[in-house]
């Protein structure tokens, strides 16, 4: 045994690599195929599933088998889980503000970078 490393059983890396390449092709082909879909909900669903869903699977495969997180000690997994929890907290805390377009204490145009269509207050709301 080499004294410089912690030996462990290795999976078939070539098989994992080929699987990752197949997933890469799916993640490119899916959104291109989706452009032919007329239904907006189906289009968004297909793009999200093939681009981000497959991306998530690829990332999980790299983390688990290339970075060996599947056999890593618990403290590392907890460390990463805490970091991801903070990211979710960031999104949950800030998104309601960023994605809000109107409110009592807001300017009419909260984001001066883009010109949003102004509301015509003389017309009754439908």
């Amino acid at each position: 045994m080499n004294k410089n490393t912690d030996e462990h059983k290795h999976p078939d890396y070539k098989k994992i690599y080929y699987s990752l390449l197949i997933l890469l092709v799916i993640s490119i082909w899916g959104p291109v195929f989706a452009l032919n879909i007329d239904n907006r909900t189906m289009l968004v669903g297909t793009v999200l599933l093939t681009a981000f869903g497959v991306g998530l699977i690829k990332a999980t495969m790299v983390v688990a088998w290339f970075m060996h997180l599947d056999i890593e000690v618990k403290v590392v997994r907890r460390l990463l889980a805490v970091c991801i929890a903070f990211l979710i907290l960031l999104f949950a805390g800030v998104a309601p503000e960023v994605l809000c377009f109107d409110g009592e204490n807001r300017d009419a145009d909260p984001d001066p970078i883009y010109e949003y269509p102004k509301k015509d207050i003389t017309k009754p709301a439908h």
Partner: protein, 197 residues
């Protein structure tokens, strides 16, 4: 000095259940998760806010270049993990050879990125063209910086590995490199293939 004294070497101190060098690498990765994660989360929020405007901007990025770079980084990750496997059995020369291949692929990635930057800036899509492009250059630039850092460190590790020294570092630089690959796996759909939304 007592006979039971152990020097605080990165390979021998295992108070957390894993070698200190690897624990340190994971700490680096954890801090990087927050850095890149914050950037990605902010991008997603603004992408949701500026839906159609950003969809139009995203359609100007080059899908084929992004796809080629994803292929390059996945292949480099494969070489990095094979280098780790070689180092584990004490084959330093093979590990060094595989690390050099990883470095070369990192160079290919940067060349493709340089081509992309040049063509986009010449087409008028510079960092100040739009908030989308500010995010694009910040995220991909920061990622590119990490690729350069990884290549430099990997060069030193490969040099030692070729002499059969510090082989535990092959795994550590591999973990870092795989993380860089994962960041790109998320940046790729965000900037290149979600333009249809």
């Amino acid at each position: 000095m007592s006979e039971t004294y152990h020097p605080p070497l990165a390979t021998s101190r295992k108070s957390a259940g894993l070698p200190t060098a690897r624990l340190g690498t994971w700490w680096v990765v954890a801090s990087e998760v927050v850095i890149f994660g914050g950037l990605v989360v902010s991008f997603v929020m603004y992408r949701m806010r500026h839906g159609e405007i950003w969809a139009d901007q995203a359609s100007h990025t080059k899908l084929y270049a992004g796809a080629l770079n994803t292929f390059v980084l996945l292949t480099s990750s494969y070489f990095a993990v094979c280098a780790h496997k070689a180092a584990e059995v004490g084959d330093g020369k093979k590990a060094a050879n595989l690390l050099v291949r990883t470095i070369l692929l990192g160079g290919v990635f940067l060349c493709v990125k340089a081509y992309e930057y040049t063509s986009e800036i010449l087409a008028g899509y510079g960092p100040k063209a739009d908030l989308f492009w500010s995010f694009y250059y910040t995220a991909t630039g920061l990622h590119g910086f990490h690729v350069v850092a990884g290549m430099v460190i990997m060069g030193f590790v490969a040099k030692d590995a070729a002499k059969g020294k510090f082989l535990h570092r092959v795994e550590c630089i591999g973990i870092y490199w795989h993380f860089v690959d994962i960041v790109w796996i998320f940046l790729f759909p965000l900037f290149y293939i979600a333009s249809g939304l």
